[in-house]
Symmetry: C2
Subunit: 106 residues, 2 copies
């Protein structure tokens, strides 16, 4: 059994670390550790699956293309991202631990 | 947007507090706050759905009927509970914050 708050990538790691915790029919649970990364300029996530995501530790700024004001997330905040709702990560604290539940559309 | 670590029931609350954060086809995400509760003597959960559950804060002792040794969970530990795998909560710290993802079987 691994721990959501353990085994972080080293400080200053160049890439975010993605770990799939569970794969089930129609669902995937993933831990993501950010080390200050942000989405590249002009990049938008556009996902085929719905996603529920929580910040478990750290902080992040999330922006939706359809909403001018960014969303400042701190530990415990969670947000629902419908499939194909374009969004990007403007900033993350080092470290930021995310828990994402990806859900296929029935 | 609510916060996973906020709005806890009062210390010493008699009952655990269950809050559904998300309901989607085949999936339900729930926050549970325990205030030292345990399952009643002889009680076993026997659920129709698979469940992925994590302890986000606090600590708990989980026991499966098919496994003699209890599982001591601290913050960040997560566990997969297959449908109908009988289990009980032997003890919880006050407070213990759980995140449960219930998944219907395809």
């Amino acid at each position: 059994m691994s721990n959501l708050f353990a085994d972080l990538p080293p400080e200053g790691a160049a890439e975010e670390a993605f770990a799939t915790l569970l794969t089930a029919p129609g669902a995937r649970i993933e831990r993501i550790v950010s080390r200050g990364q942000a989405s590249p300029p002009g990049f938008w996530y556009d996902q085929d699956e719905d996603e529920w995501v929580a910040v478990l530790a750290g902080a992040a700024t999330l922006r939706f293309e359809d909403t001018p004001a960014p969303l400042n997330l701190t530990a415990g905040d969670h947000v629902w991202i419908a499939a194909h709702r374009r969004h990007r990560v403007e900033a993350t604290a080092d470290p930021t631990i995310w828990l994402a539940v990806h859900l296929a559309r029935g």
